[in-house]
Amino acid sequence: MGAVSAAVEAALDGLSCESCGAALNVAAGERTTRCPYCASPAVVARPRSAGEEPTFVVGFVIPEEDARTRAKAWMRSTWFVKSGFKEADVTDMRGVYLPAYLYSASARVGYTASIGENYTVTETYTTTDANGKSVTRTRTRVETEWRSLSGEWSAYLDDVVVTASRGLHNEELEAIEPYDLRALRRYTPKILSGWLAEDPSRTAAECATMAREEAVQQIGRRVSAFMPGDSHRELRYKTSFAHEHGALVLLPVWVLAVKYDPEQPAVRMVLNGQTGALVGRPPRSWTKVTIAIVAGIFALALVIYLGIEA
């Protein structure tokens, strides 16, 4: 990872509003705030030694109303959910700049695999023809010859993105990726003004480990596509990374909460603030699922019964 210092953990105080002079208290791990008296949006500028400055930002493209509409449409399209979820209102909604690392490296891979090369075998067999006579015929079948292969694969890896926030898991981020990184901009506080912006809450080492795991998965797909032959199996590869670099990037994310039942915890949805891709875990109604399965089995049994009767 690039030079990464520890995340800023402590809340910042002693800051004052540039507009009205009121005292501001910036929550731990946040980069922006709003004055409680004059509502002026402020972005915290820190000395470079206090923490890593983001390198890039991707700006919000999806406005609040659009994000709300997409979330409602997603809720209505879910199946077998608990009563009230489809019609529930979004109770909380925040546009957040999520800290993430944009990882890149050069990768060298040594692999071994068993490569399947197909060939056709013609064989003769004896069968009985329509007149009951024994006849000899030929047929072809495809066989595979397995040959071992070892070699190297190398390439630059780019656009591996992993979360640097403990508030949003990497699986959730992967579910709303990809971000169009052609829209990357150099970090400027201007883009953050008026929005929540989080500081990294995961260490650089943690993020580097996650990024390497994601990179290894990506390499696996690419090395698999690199294999010759008609098929392959037992692909094993060992990757070494060099020139690794992680750039801190702020990504736009809408986080929405839906309270469909006062007795139940709110359901969280996360929406990509650039593309609108959404991930959430709708509350499943196991009663509805069971009824659907039983009804399905009953319908199948009925069809089979009618078929037998006919």
């Binding site: 509003c17 700006g59 493209v61 609040e64």
Partner: protein
Amino acid sequence: MSVGTCTRCSSPLEREDLRCAVCALPAPRMVEADGVREAVAQILRCNGCGAAVQYSAEVQAPKCDFCNSVMEIETPDDPVEQAEVFLDFTISDAEAREALKAWLGTKGFFRPNDLQDRAAVDGLKPLWWVGWMFDAHAGVCWAADSDAGSGRSAWAPHSGRFEMRADNVVVPASVGLEAEECRELVPYYDLARNSTEPKGHPGATVEQFTVQRSAARRIISRALEGVARSRARNYVPGSSVRNLHVSVLPSTLTSKHLAFPAFVLAYRYGDKLYRAVVHGQDASCVLGEAPIAWGKIIFVSVAIISMIALIASALV
């Protein structure tokens, strides 16, 4: 304009680059942020009315809610590139016409007898077509099937690695000429005869690049992979090859934007128009289409069939 090189892959970086186009390493900031001694909460103010401004997703920039003015944000500069090196025109219009006429005379038996005399040039357009020329050094890994060492199957897998140096590889970006035409013209250019301004034919059209820099780099990367694939073929043992895959790790990749001189001619034979391209530096290189004498083809075909029939009947 290059302002330095990438510390990971040594490829040149442009002033506006956020990341290296070859290996994606973030480019260093050209201007360091002004020093902040202690944490401060800064408010972004509208340049027009002084009100506090916040970023608007609708306009993708900070927008003032009071006076509606929008603040500009520095966006990545991704310009459409311009030719920076022009190869000189060294043959004139008259020489181009002569070259076409001479070429028509070499088209062979299956062309009309009077092609050279009756073909009339209907239009002549001198132009500089554009393309990128790159130099690269890369490590190439390859894997493929070939007939070498094959057993029961006709194919056996092979793999290998080699270092590749590619110099002066031209990637056509022309809209007016076909990519294949450009590739055929390239070997006849004298790259030493060049200047930074169009030279040798006043009034000739200079084609424009039609893609932005980022897209151009992707095209060049793909072309480098194409070169690697064709070179890798020489390393695969055996005579038949399939499933040739390459992975390319460039250590340097530099490119220039060139303009290449050529003449596009339209000539008429009978009532039909044909197109030809004459090289702008070497009149011996002419490409294009020419009419076919179908009568001769039918006559020869009938003669061959008759002869075969005659021989067959004699043998029977």
